[in-house]
């Protein structure tokens, strides 16, 4: 009977119309389709806000397309001065705005906080003759064309990181032989199968293969060594590059300072809550929380750095 009841409750949760008791309403835009990273972040945020009673009725809307720039444009045009609207986004959006030459940029929204982040890892198959980051850089310097890098889409975090590595190693960034793959699985298969020289992506993508002894980590893009990762940082390997693929949340343009402060304090409460911490643990997201003006400053530097490297790779004119 208890089981039946549990199941029935599950169905009710799924099928019943939830009647809101309106106290504080909030809408969160995920500028991506259901299921992806930004969508999961938005829905996790929704769950934490409601469970911790920080807001009573939170709606998530999905506006997919063009690396989040379509959602961003819609968010800015529809929510000017509204204190009850948030948009989720991340480092990928910084690149997408630049490569797509998007008319609406992150300057037009109000930074609230950076929530989570992931560092990039550079890997080779275990059977590869390349043993260290030094070996890879030596080959890159000798003949950049022979080093094929497998990673995500052109102009994305992976591509930007390769550009930064080339630049730091004194190699012309326009000469890198970067091979973009559309899905994580396809790239990973090509890397494990030895179809490309090296692979680059968020460390989480590689973790299982590394543990199983199929891939070797040459370096990670974090400021310090990562716990549970057997590999040096890029800086230790003599490459002065640090990249974090982060996700954060912004509010609408033209909100008052009080409204902004209250939103920041709400997200700070979320970050401190058990619900959110549990979510981070189950999803394997690292907490790189940074709120308000500190986030805004970091964001500004990131945009400048990214613009420079994308111009050098030749993706932005």
């Amino acid at each position: 009977m208890r089981v039946l009841f549990k199941a029935a409750a599950g169905i009710l949760l799924a099928a019943a119309a939830v009647l809101p008791v309106s106290a504080q309403e909030l809408s969160i835009m995920a500028p991506a389709g259901p299921g992806g990273g930004w969508d999961q972040t938005a829905r996790s945020l929704q769950n934490a806000l409601q469970t911790e009673k920080l807001a009573t009725n939170v709606q998530v809307t999905n506006v997919p397309g063009a690396g989040g720039t379509i959602g961003l444009a819609q968010f800015v045009s529809q929510n000017k001065g509204k204190a009850d609207a948030l948009i989720v986004g991340g480092y990928v959006m910084v690149g997408a705005i630049l490569t797509n030459n998007a008319p609406v940029t992150l300057d037009q929204v109000t930074p609230i906080a950076r929530l989570t982040g992931e560092y990039e890892a550079i890997v080779v198959p275990t059977s590869s003759p390349i043993k260290t980051m030094g070996d890879l850089v030596a080959q890159l310097k000798a003949d950049p064309g022979t080093v094929s890098w497998g990673g995500g889409s052109a102009g994305g975090t992976d591509h930007i990181t390769v550009g930064l590595i080339a630049k730091a190693a004194g190699v012309d960034p326009t000469k890198i032989n970067y091979i973009p793959f559309s899905g994580g699985g396809e790239a990973l298969a090509a890397i494990v199968g030895g179809k490309v020289t090296a692979g680059i992506s968020g460390y989480g993508e590689f973790e299982q293969q590394v543990k199983a002894g199929k891939l070797r980590v040459l370096a990670v893009s974090s400021p310090e060594r990562l716990p549970n990762v057997d590999g040096p940082t890029l800086k230790e390997s003599g490459i002065d590059v640090e990249v974090q693929n982060w996700r954060g949340v912004w509010a609408a343009p033209d909100i008052t300072d009080e409204q902004k402060a209250s939103l920041i304090s709400m997200i700070e409460k979320v970050n401190a809550s058990k619900t959110w911490q549990d979510t981070l643990a189950t999803k394997g997201w690292a907490n790189t929380f940074l709120a308000g003006d500190a986030f805004a400053d970091v964001l500004k530097q990131e945009i400048e750095k990214t613009t420079a490297v994308l111009k050098e790779i030749g993706l932005v004119k």
Binding site: A7, L13, T61, A189, G193, K214
Partner: protein
């Protein structure tokens, strides 16, 4: 037989009444969402995943498997009955399936799809159980050059299958290739044919195009006949169930579809669409009734439906053995695992054997549940077609736009739907086939990206395209497809036989 024992243990868990109940609910919910055009199994799973959070791991996996198979099957149902493919893997099903449904043979079409899916799912799950380690070794050897060869094979067989009037078929195919160019070029990040419109940067959505071409184009065409709408839809003519002849014509396509779907699904960039194209082409070439193709040939439903279900099980090969999510659906499955802190990968079979076998057993159960649930419902489904025409077509358009809006709630996407619907209508009016448009749209970008990837890795040396034995083998099959029939005729002629033209 270590794996066999483990499977039995998994099955014994899965057949507990409460788990059967979860499977039932999963199949029901999955089917309900899966019938929406544009919302395929991946999105269905994504939307329903939170529901499974509330259950224990075993029950959750079972409901999950049910949602997945339900989503797949729901897509076929709307393809056959309403000509609105629920997802890209069931586009081919609409070709013959909807023709059958309009001729009163919706019952056998739905039945062969359901049983074919069941048979394919069963065989493929068994193959997954016993062959996964070997299949994955071969799959990992596939590089961009080999994928390009596979695309060449798909193009070759497809143009052989759709070659009614060569000029018309090719024109439709090239229109599809043109649509496939729209958006950001993956290799260089450059926008093509986007004309500065941000909504076009991600390209033309395959499911939107399929729904527009099939459902909308057809609706407009029938409306344009006005008072002369001679075409009458008969809900049922003859048997609601498959006849002996239907069975005889279905079982071989089921097996061939499975044989194509499972290995291609296991390839990291194989996908579920290509095996359906290949299966359709193969069935048309091998059929004793090729003249029925295009007018409702049951083989054209049985083969592709088996192929897409087998490929769904194939996708689990790299996921479970390597932790590689090679499709959107597999990525969602990965998320499903992760909610219990489980990382699929090379170590999964040793560290979480019970859950893996639980999942495989769940697939068996969900597959069976789907059959049990859907066969009795066929009678009800086909009666949908007896709804008076104004309500029926009104409902089809409501469903088509609901699916489109659900996947991407934007006015632009609706406008694309309407514009492509007009194109589909014009093509139908001028008697162009519409299926090659979709095939070009799917295959064109894949072929282009794989070719350029292969050449970039080799630094521009075209010899790299013919270096691997896999690629050479696939090109050999292409040659047989192209020249085999001609040579065969020559041999026959030499033997003094004459062939009917």
């Amino acid at each position: 037989m270590e794996s066999f024992d483990a499977l039995l243990l998994g099955l014994s868990v899965a057949v507990q009444p409460q788990n059967l109940f979860y499977a039932f609910i999963g199949v029901l919910l999955g089917t309900a969402v899966g019938v929406l055009p544009g919302i395929g199994p991946a999105l269905t799973v994504a939307l329903l995943l939170p529901v499974t959070f509330k259950l224990d791991p075993g029950g959750s996996l079972i409901m999950f498997a049910g949602i997945y198979y339900g989503g797949m099957y729901g897509g076929s149902t709307s393809s056959i009955l309403l000509n609105t493919p629920g997802e890209s893997a069931s586009i081919i099903t609409a070709l013959e399936g909807n023709k059958m449904a309009r001729a009163g043979r919706g019952g056998p079409a739905l039945a062969t799809a359901a049983i074919g899916s069941f048979v394919a799912g069963l065989i493929a799950t068994i193959a997954l159980t016993f062959l996964a380690p070997w299949v994955v070794e071969i799959a990992l050897n596939f590089g961009p050059a080999d994928y390009f060869a596979l695309m060449v094979l798909a193009f070759t067989t497809v143009s052989a299958a759709f070659g009614g009037s060569a000029l018309r078929g090719l024109t439709a195919l090239f229109i599809g290739l043109s649509l496939g160019l729209v958006g950001i070029d993956l290799q260089t990040g450059q926008a093509r044919l986007a004309f500065g419109v941000p909504d076009l940067l991600d390209g033309v959505e395959v499911t939107t195009t399929a729904v527009a071409m099939f459902a909308l184009g057809e609706t407009l065409y029938i409306a344009s006949l006005g008072s002369r709408m001679r075409e009458t839809i008969e809900p049922v003519r003859g048997s609601l169930w498959m006849t002996a002849q239907d069975w005889a014509r279905s079982w071989k396509p089921w097996l061939r579809g499975t044989a194509l779907g499972f290995p291609i699904g296991a390839l990291p960039a194989g996908g579920a669409e290509i095996p359906t194209f290949l299966s359709y082409s193969a069935e048309k070439a091998l059929s004793k009734h090729p003249e029925e193709f295009g007018h409702g040939a049951i083989e054209g439903v049985a083969g592709p439906e088996a192929a897409n279900n087998a490929s769904a099980a194939g996708v689990l090969v790299p996921l479970l053995t390597l932790g590689l999510p090679t499709s959107a659906t597999a990525a969602m499955m990965l998320a499903g695992f992760q909610q219990y802190g489980i990382q699929p990968g090379p170590l999964l079979f040793s560290t979480n054997a019970d859950l893996v076998w639980g999942l495989i057993a769940s697939l068996f159960i969900a597959n069976t549940m789907l059959l049990v649930l859907n066969l009795p419902l066929i009678g009800m489904w086909v009666r949908l077609l007896s709804i008076p025409r104004p309500w029926l077509y009104g409902g089809i358009l409501v469903f088509a736009t609901l699916g489109t809006l659900g996947a991407n709630p934007s006015q632009f996407e609706l406008a694309m739907l309407a514009a492509l619907g007009l194109l589909g209508f014009a093509m139908r009016y001028f008697d162009y086939p519409v299926a090659p448009v979709i095939i070009g749209l799917i295959l064109g970008p894949l072929a282009e990206q794989q070719l350029r990837r292969a050449l970039a890795i080799s630094q521009g040396d075209p010899a790299a395209l013919f270096e691997s034995s896999i690629a050479i083998g696939i090109y050999a099959v292409c040659a047989i497809v192209l020249f085999g029939p001609v040579l065969w005729k020559l041999v026959q002629r030499k033997n003094g036989k004459t062939l009917p033209a």
